[in-house]
């Protein structure tokens, strides 16, 4: 790790101010950033830790919405998002207990790892990302691998999830990292079905719109039998070819539909 300063503001305003300086970086749970710093792959002058800001943490209910503060840990979502069981189950399946006790929803979304779990939930739920300056619809937030609509210095303060009628997340583990080799989140709402896929694409999380149409017409596993996912632009690596990932998207979608409660 290069030498750096760390500041731990207690208010959002102080954090925004601190992040306004050059070479400052926001630190959530640090589950990606700290290893990156240790390998000297990043060299910020100042880390602005967000986890001391009380107003950014916690889970609340607002009508049909479940609102999760940006620094809420995966473990807190796993145990506290009881109104949205599929989301709680997803959070409970991220990493291991140490990761879940440190990692935050805001950090995961801002990092936008192409194999992270949360982006699938956010995109399939049609959630809204709330920042210190604006609200961003999930469909506008994810812009590709490790790329989001966030501006420099912008902080995710909360994520607003509409609670679907039925939902489920199925993750097929990459054997080494246990990130998603392919993860599929299916959510059924009054407006139809949304299907979001993580782990599979070179372009990050995406919606499988063919499946959404089929499942909106018939919410059953067999509804996607006739569909196929193109392997174009899917990830090929040590752990699976694009064709294998394309196949898994369909398998995981069917399993998610079958398991939707």
């Amino acid at each position: 790790m290069y030498e750096l300063n760390i500041t731990r503001p207690e208010t959002l305003a102080d954090a925004v101010e601190a992040l306004g300086h050059d070479e400052a970086m926001a630190l959530g749970g640090g589950q990606t950033l700290i290893p990156t710093l240790k390998q000297r792959l990043a060299n910020p002058e100042t880390l602005v830790s967000l986890t001391g800001i009380a107003e950014l943490s916690g889970i609340s209910r607002d009508g049909d919405m479940l609102i999760i503060g940006g620094t809420t840990t995966h473990a807190e979502v796993a145990s506290g998002a009881t109104d949205y069981p599929a989301l709680a189950a997803l959070a409970g399946g991220i990493g291991d207990p140490a990761v879940r006790n440190r990692g935050t929803i805001g950090g995961s979304l801002a990092n936008d790892d192409p194999a992270a779990c949360y982006p699938a939930a956010v995109l399939a739920s049609g959630a809204t990302i709330v920042t210190n300056t604006r609200e961003i619809a999930a469909d506008d937030f994810f812009e590709g691998m490790f790329t989001t609509a966030l501006h420099d210095g912008e902080i995710i303060t909360a994520v607003r999830f509409p609670i679907p009628q039925k939902a489920n997340y199925q993750k097929f583990d990459q054997p080494a990292s246990r990130f998603a080799l392919v993860g599929v989140f299916v959510a059924q709402t009054a407006d139809g079905v949304r299907v979001a896929v993580t782990g599979a694409s070179e372009e990050g999380v995406f919606r499988w719109t063919d499946a959404e149409a089929a499942l909106s017409a018939d919410f059953s596993p067999t509804a996607v039998d006739g569909l196929n996912v193109s392997a174009d632009n899917l990830i090929g690596d040590l752990h699976g070819t694009p064709e294998y990932r394309a196949h898994l998207v369909k398998v995981m979608t069917k399993r998610a539909v079958a398991a939707s409660g």
């Binding site: 790790m1 290069y2 030498e3 390998q39 000297r40 097929f172 054997p175 080494a176 990292s177 990130f179 080799l181 690596d237 040590l238 752990h239 699976g240 070819t241 294998y244 196949h247 898994l248 398998v251």
Partner: protein
């Protein structure tokens, strides 16, 4: 029932108390006043010409004490290889120099180019980034077959090719084997890869050099399985330090698995630099460094042919193997694909004719050397896979085919130069069948099918050669070291005992098991006995721990030393009781005179040895301390039969291990619980190889599996509850304890069981699949199922 703490008792491991409560003393726990820190600048290309390494700017960086390059090592030896293989034409292997720091060329990603010694680790890293380098990248040689092609780029310019050796064994059998294969009723052929693995002990390597100007003594603290071997190799061949001025200490070591046998450049560097900068110098590998600098394992590509008669009797076996050496010859690398592999190709079977060809190949990859099993897993895997394939081709039951060919009479001289002293392969197979409920398999298969899963059953046998030695034999085979073991049994005045052993415990439980032997021999409590190991200044010259040799060789040395102690103690007891030495018996810590009620306690005799007031000083020296060196007459030959049941998810290709049964014959057993643990760990690593682990380089020599994000280590939930049994015991005939060793068995016996089970599951489901290369990852299994 064995006495508590004696031979045969499942005594809890005393060392675990300190390991589990954070009181262990690992090398990285050692910090010496005024120590400096080393950071190695390592190559990020697999092959390149070092045109220029300019350290001038870096030397001015804050905290820098000194920066070393190969120029500082002129006149210093290379890292030596400890085994010379002679090829099938009678010529010695090609043996390139392995410099401490890269000289002129870099030959694998991770090859150290320069070393920065600084006040802090971060300052050393900062300075390393300021070193200016000019490297002309050269074509990397990664694939072994391509490396052997005419005109292939050479890993070492000065060698004639990338071929280290072309070894034939037994060369005289070659024509007869070819004849038998040409004329056999049936020949089963299989091509397979035993993939490269990274050992990944929990504790990464650490080295600390220290130099005392007052005494001219060098001390190296290092994470080694064999500190005396490091002292010998580094002192004599690299740095030219006589042994009485070189002290090597391996304190608690957090797992070795073979990769901490070898002498590494970092050890030589820290020892050298400590004198050069007159400061203690510490290096601790990061996990990333471990991936690119620890000796790696396996990496064989093999074609195996098994010739059978129409009734399924094995007639001949031939193998052609390419074995990867990596960029340099690690300490024991040449021996692994040859003498630790070819000699095991008979397995448990009376195949009359065997020919093994191995071509060892240099590539621009991290050096490959012994990893748990070392050559024997590669042998077992080929053999047990080809037998399984043959059984399917012949429509025979795989167990019956094995039984038909089992060696049943001992001692047995194999056609590959080893003589098995004892074994009973039908007994372990019978035990396995009893344990694994094969009769219930069909019902279990149907239950799996109802869940949409494909169930399969795999069975295999294994044999291994442990307790590596005898020295005169291994010397003829090219070993540049002896392979005896040593022990000093020091009896203290009040009767407690300290045993200094040349074996080294890095997880094996010696501190518990070795005292059990002494306790049984003398009849005192095991807690009266302590084991000292891992320090060249404290223990007699010993060869360390690898090849499942500790109890068989080190334990035997300890028994021999204890026998000498008991013999002398009986003389003292005879004097004290005014009896004839021949009438003295020792039992339960009491010396008695046969046929009388006279007795004297162990502690009274030991006290007399050190307070010799009433003592036969004219006949006997005072004191009670004896040393023995034990050089075994033969290897030991543990064997066993393993069974694995799996479920394959046909939608994803994911394999789940449902059960794993192991029936082993380790001869006599000192501590059954420790043996259970050793087998559990071995099977865990074997399942890791079968399903998960894979060290992969791309065609440029970049390591793709360079961290735990891509190198899949087995986790608890990847593994089943094991059912292990070692009640079949045919004691070794040539060591005093009748023990065979158990450390590697699980890793040797389990990969073929898993792969046989997956192939069985897929074949039962109608897939025409005869083999899938390890690891049987979901993607590979699914891909195989697509045809």
């Amino acid at each position: 029932m064995p006495a508590d703490g004696g031979i045969g008792a499942s005594t809890k491991r005393r060392e675990d108390v300190r390991f589990l409560t954070g009181l262990g003393n690992y090398t990285d726990d050692i910090n010496i006043h005024n120590q400096a820190y080393v950071h190695f600048l390592r190559s990020d290309v697999a092959h390149g010409k070092l045109n220029r390494v300019d350290t001038r700017a870096a030397e001015k960086m804050p905290g820098v004490i000194r920066i070393f390059t190969s120029k500082d090592f002129e006149g210093v030896g290379g890292i030596p290889c400890g085994w010379q293989v002679t090829d099938r034409f009678g010529e010695p292997m090609q043996e390139p120099k392995h410099p401490v720091l890269a000289e002129g060329f870099v030959r694998h990603v991770g090859d150290p180019i320069a070393a920065v010694v600084a006040e802090t680790l971060e300052q050393a890293r900062d300075a390393a980034e300021a070193i200016e380098m000019d490297i002309s990248e050269l074509p990397a040689v990664i694939d072994m077959a391509a490396a052997l092609e005419d005109g292939a780029p050479k890993v070492h310019e000065e060698l004639s090719s990338n071929l280290c050796y072309d070894w034939g064994f037994v060369e005289e059998n070659s024509a007869a084997v070819a004849d038998a294969i040409a004329n056999a009723a049936h020949v089963t052929t299989l091509e397979l890869r035993n993939q490269r693995l990274v050992a990944n002990p929990m504790e990464a390597r650490v080295a600390i050099g220290d130099y005392n100007r007052a005494t001219d003594e060098h001390t190296l603290y290092t994470t080694s399985q064999n500190p005396h071997v490091i002292r010998l190799l580094m002192g004599a061949f690299v740095l030219g330090i006589p042994e009485h001025k070189l002290h090597v200490i391996s304190p608690d070591v957090g797992g070795g698995f073979g990769t901490k046998i070898f002498h590494y450049a970092e050890e030589a560097f820290c020892t050298f630099a400590a004198k050069a900068v007159n400061r203690p110098v510490k290096w601790a590998a990061t996990r990333s460094e471990a991936f690119m600098s620890d000796g790696q394992g396996r990496d064989h590509v093999t074609k195996i042919e098994l010739a059978l008669d129409k009734d399924g009797h094995f007639l001949a076996l031939r193998t052609d193997t390419l074995a990867n050496m990596g960029a340099y010859l690690s300490t024991f690398a040449p021996s692994v694909p040859t003498w630790l592999h070819g000699t095991l190709m008979a397995g448990n079977y009376k195949t009359p004719l065997i020919y093994v060809n191995v071509k060892a190949v240099f590539t621009n990859t991290v050096p490959v050397d012994a990893y748990r099993g070392a050559g024997r897993p590669e042998a077992s895997f080929q053999l047990e896979r080809v037998i399984d394939k043959a059984a399917r081709e012949l429509g025979m039951d795989p167990i019956e085919l094995r039984r038909k060919n089992f060696i049943t009479e001992f001692p047995y001289e194999t056609p590959v130069a080893v003589a098995y002293d004892t074994g009973d392969y039908n007994a372990t197979m019978d035990k396995l069948i009893e344990m694994a409920d094969f009769d219930g398999f069909e019902a279990r298969r149907e239950a799996s099918a109802k869940k949409g899963k494909l169930r399969g059953l795999g069975v295999n046998c294994y044999i291994e050669a442990c307790g590596i030695a005898p020295s005169n034999l291994v010397g003829q085979l090219g070993a540049r070291a002896g392979l005896y073991e040593s022990a000093t049994v020091r009896v203290n005045a009040t009767g407690s005992i300290t045993v200094m052993t040349g074996s080294h415990s890095h997880g094996q439980g010696h501190e518990t098991a070795f005292p059990q032997v002494i306790a049984s021999m003398i009849g005192i409590d095991a807690d009266q006995v302590d084991i000292v190991h891992g320090d060249t200044a404290k223990t007699p010259m010993g060869m360390g721990t690898y090849g499942s040799r500790s109890i068989a060789v080190g334990g035997s040395a300890m028994v021999r030393a204890a026998e000498k102690v008991i013999s002398k103690a009986k003389k003292i007891a005879a004097h004290l009781m005014e009896a004839s030495e021949g009438d003295i018996e020792l039992k339960d810590g009491q010396f008695t005179v046969a046929g009388t009620d006279k007795s004297v306690a162990w502690g009274d005799v030991t006290l007399a040895a050190y307070v010799p007031h009433n003592y036969p000083l004219e006949d006997l020296e005072p004191g009670l301390e004896e040393t023995a060196f034990y050089d075994p007459a033969n290897f030991t030959y543990p064997s066993g039969a393993y069974a694995c049941e799996v479920e394959v998810d046909p939608d994803t290709g994911k394999v789940e291990i449902c059960s794993f049964h192991a029936a082993d014959d380790f001869g006599n057993i000192i501590n059954p619980m420790i043996v259970d643990g050793q087998v559990h760990g071995g099977i865990g690593q074997g399942i890791g190889q079968a399903l998960l682990e894979n060290c992969v380089y791309d065609s440029d020599g970049q390591l793709l599996s360079a961290s735990f994000m891509d190198y899949a280590m087995p986790r608890a939930d990847d593994l089943p509850f094991y059912d292990v049994d070692h009640s079949c015991q045919t004691p070794c005939t040539h060591n005093p304890l009748g023990v065979k060793g158990c450390g590697e068995a699980g890793a040797i016996g389990s990969p073929p069981a898993v792969v046989n089970a997956v192939v069985d599951a897929l074949q039962r489901a109608g897939h025409d699949i005869t083999h899938i290369d390890m690891p049987l990852s979901p993607a590979r299994v699914w891909s195989a199922m697509q045809g």
